[in-house]
């Protein structure tokens, strides 16, 4: 249900994006069009839009959602809306996206991500490395974004917004310069479907390979995620097994070579000793062995 709402949301948004809107101005216009497509909460929000100065939490949340798309950072992170009970699923998903959006990903984005799926808070990288690390951050967020449930939610969102993929890309074009730094970051929040213009396609394909691709939200994605984890562990065990065996063989080879060298040396020494002593032994001696 929330996915359909999102579809409307995104579709309307893209229409307005094409008109060259940006920032707050576009935000409010987009809100008006998207809220009109909604059912219950739209009435309250449409009324309030007539007086644009009074903004409800819903509008603010929409703004965040949109401006996070447009990479406007003017919003301070908003308090958790207590109005969120209106559309709980929608809010929870958006909050998740928001949390993985630019405001929050800044600290993470600087990280060099080496491990998947659930690494501890990664070390910081200089900002110049952002464009490179952001792709890997995709993996980090995909793996660690609230575990299976979170990734399922995020990826479920991606399914619904996949339709608007193309137009959204266009829409971001005019904000491209602003987006340059944070463009790739948006990909995690909207999952694989959205390709920021500043992230190359090759990048994207590299990232998506490592991402979880569940069928949809809920247990399907969770099971797949667990399966992926298990598979990774199994692969790690397999590598360890192989490496252990190889190490053992190397040790044995080294040991055997050493023993061989030692034995050869010993043989040589004995031969020399024998040659030196040999003349003495040639003479046969008669000795008495009789009992009397």
């Amino acid at each position: 249900m929330w996915s359909s709402g999102l579809d409307n949301h995104s579709n309307n948004k893209t229409n307005n994006i094409d008109n060259g809107n940006s920032g707050h101005g576009g935000g409010s216009r987009i809100i008006s069009s998207s809220s009109s497509s909604r059912s219950s909460p739209s009435s309250t929000s449409s009324i309030l839009l007539r007086t644009p100065r009074r903004r409800t939490m819903e509008e603010v949340w929409k703004d965040i959602n949109l401006t996070s798309l447009h990479h406007e950072r003017r919003f301070a992170p908003l308090p958790e809306p207590h109005h969120h009970h209106h559309h709980h699923h929608h809010r929870a998903m958006i909050l998740q996206d928001f949390l993985s959006g630019p405001c929050f990903t800044v600290s993470r984005a600087n990280a060099a991500v080496e491990d998947i799926p659930l690494p501890p808070p990664p070390p910081l990288l200089p900002p110049t490395a952002l464009s490179l690390s952001s792709g890997r951050e995709l993996q980090y967020l995909g793996g660690g974004g609230g575990g299976g449930g979170g990734s399922a939610l995020m990826n479920g969102h991606s399914r619904s917004s996949s339709n608007s993929n193309g137009s959204r890309v266009h829409g971001q074009a005019n904000n491209n310069d602003n987006n340059a730094r944070s463009g790739p970051f948006m990909s995690p929040s909207f999952s694989d479907a959205v390709i920021g213009p500043s992230s190359p396609a090759g990048f994207f394909s590299f990232c998506s390979k490592k991402r979880v691709m569940p069928e949809g939200p809920g247990i399907g994605g969770d099971r797949r995620y667990k399966r992926m984890i298990k598979n990774r562990e199994s692969a790690a065990r397999s590598r360890a097994r192989k490496q252990a065996y190889t190490n053992e063989l190397e040790l044995e080879v080294a040991h055997l070579l050493e023993e061989n060298a030692k034995l050869k040396k010993q043989l040589e020494e004995l031969r020399l000793a024998m040659d030196a002593q040999l003349p003495n032994r040639i003479a046969l001696k008669r000795s008495s062995s009789a009992p009397f």
Binding site: S234, R237, R241, A244, Y245, E248, L251, E252
Partner: protein, 179 residues
């Protein structure tokens, strides 16, 4: 980063604490000595091996433990460790046949995954009586050594083993699907 096969293969970690090897251990199945970390088929390890302890002093006694830390499966080792064999009072320079078999040899029969089978050797200070554990599963080598004051292990080795016909991996269960 240690290159010791026991560490890389996670035997040190899952079963044992890091130790310094001070004895030698040779495990021989069917007249073939087992290389540490190699893979054997269940059919090759049906009967108990001859475990030789080379050395000098026949007065030194050893305890041998054989466990499977990957029971029932490596990805889900809920029954870690499964005790396969327990022999005490083995004199140095001899082999396991000269010791006191507390728990008889059980043939490895792994059903799921690739299991490690670990042989651990402890040096005994005295000839001691060791009680037979009530059951084979969920044996803990560390606790066992602590209980009988065996100290740290003096030698260890392991081999891998999977189902005879392969496919220790995912198999389809009617109830639980692919696991």
């Amino acid at each position: 980063m240690s290159r010791d096969p026991l560490v890389v293969g996670r035997v040190v970690g899952d079963v044992l604490d890091p130790f310094i090897r001070s004895a030698f251990l040779r495990v021989i199945y069917n007249n073939r000595e087992v290389t540490n970390g190699s893979e054997l088929k269940p059919s090759a390890v049906v009967h108990q091996p001859r475990v030789e302890i080379p050395g000098r002093d026949m007065r030194t006694l050893y305890t041998l433990v054989m466990v499977d830390p990957d029971a029932p499966s490596p990805s889900n080792p809920t029954k870690r460790e499964h005790l396969h064999w327990l022999v005490t009072d083995i004199p140095e320079t001899t082999n396991s046949g000269f010791g006191n078999e507390i728990v008889g040899y059980e043939s490895p029969r792994p059903t799921a995954g690739i299991h490690r089978f670990v042989f651990v050797l402890f040096r005994q200070e005295v000839r001691q009586t060791i009680d037979k554990p009530g059951w084979r599963q969920n044996f803990n080598t560390r606790d066992f050594a602590a209980l009988y004051n065996l100290g740290p292990p003096v030698a260890a080795m392991y081999f891998n083993c999977q189902r005879e016909n392969g496919c220790g991996g995912r198999r389809y269960h009617a109830v639980s699907g692919w696991t």
